[in-house]
Symmetry: C2
Subunit: 216 residues, 2 copies
DNA sequence: TGGAAAACATTCCATTCGGCATGTAAGTTC
DNA sequence: GAACTTACATGCCGAATGGAATGTTTTCCA
């Protein structure tokens, strides 16, 4: 390249035309790139095959940069837990906008929980969760975050159906969440989707009956 | 050692006093030792940290012997799946001896499923199951075996409660199994045991109501 | 505007992994 | 009891991993 304007340093020129990247911006950018790549790896490869090298490659970030932000792999995973939970919560909140009130909420709510707790992101959650069983550090990172997600989602429902007895709501909610997680496991190894849908339908019927009995 | 009887070879003498180990016996012994050690590793360390070296160490078996019986790690894992399923099935069958008939079967059956699908062995199942999501070979090994376990347990219940409509039985059974698996996940990372028991109690109540409605 | 600090990149290393090759001992068969 | 097969043991290798060390660029701030 023939430099015609020697007064301006080349680096600065590039900076100007591309726009100034503040440190906070750079930091945030590569951090989320790393965390998203981590979630990608977990969903596609599973925890056992997720290496920091692969994460860096997918994030388009050097190994040094990764170590700058997350000194150790465990630290990266712990951060990924929170990032992942935030994404799921956002997903749930976005889908909760058009929820009906009254009895219809039962059915729609079950669908919402299904989507939130058995969707694509939940595969990554499973990986981390199962790993956490034998990894105290990861478990410590997961427990509070997950509990918060569960409770906040429950509160969302309680707001939508104030007429419902709290006890009934809690029971139906947690039963649905745990059933969903079990079904999600089944789905992940290629269980019969038709039977899963049928079970979900039956459960809606049962839950609705419980709701009707308890609300009157 | 001062050999006083040169007529008999030393090796044979040892053989005689310890009893003759047939090839089939030796084979079976080290095989199950390896498979049990594999399950131990999965339970205690999780899949990611389970190495063949560790398995061999716990089984008290050399690496060569392991490779003789299971050429590859994947092969060992696939065999472990079957071994594990057999142990679970035996556990369930043993506990199913004193199951009542009639309505009480609902409660007791739920407890039985809980013990079978959320017991100690189920942690290893979870590890393999979650791993299978991103490991086609392992998934291929798990699917048929697990399906067989599920169906045979269902048939056990159907035998015990012939008066129950088949559709109702299937629904309650699979709902319970999946709920149990979800709760097992929760239990493994140290969720609140009291709430889990409460949910199980509520579910028994609901299931009993469903049974009563459908049986009349 | 010049130096400090933060962000990012490159290289290297000790360890561990799964698997292979080769060798020895025990059991089977004729 | 000798050939043969099966079971078991030891040592080694290339690949990959997580992490440390060190060097370079970009932004910040006084």
């Amino acid at each position: 390249m023939t430099a015609t304007k020697p007064t301006q340093p080349d680096a600065l020129a590039r900076t100007r035309e591309r726009g100034h990247r503040t440190q906070a911006e750079r930091r945030e950018r590569t951090r989320t790139a790393l965390l998203d790549a981590t979630i990608d790896c977990l969903t596609e490869l599973g925890y056992a095959r997720t290496s920091v090298q692969e994460i860096c490659a997918r994030a388009g970030v050097s190994k040094g940069a990764q170590q700058h932000h997350f000194a150790t792999k465990a630290e990266l995973m712990a951060a990924a837990v929170e990032h992942l939970t935030n994404r799921i919560q956002a997903e749930i909140l976005a889908a909760s906008g058009d929820l009906p009130e009254g009895p219809e909420l039962v059915e729609q709510g079950i669908d919402l929980i299904w989507q939130g707790f058995a969707g694509t992101l939940s595969a990554a959650v499973m990986e981390l969760w199962v790993t956490a069983r034998t990894d105290a550090e990861l478990a410590a990172a997961i427990k509070p975050v997950d509990k918060a997600l569960g409770r906040s989602t429950l509160e969302l429902f309680q707001t939508l159906a104030p007429e419902m007895p709290q006890r009934t709501m809690e029971t139906l909610y947690w039963l649905t969440v745990n059933l969903t997680r079990g079904l999600a496991l089944d789905a992940q190894i290629g269980g019969d989707a038709a039977r899963r849908n049928q079970l979900l339908t039956e459960w809606k019927r049962i839950a609705l009956a419980v709701y009707r009995d308890d609300v009157t």
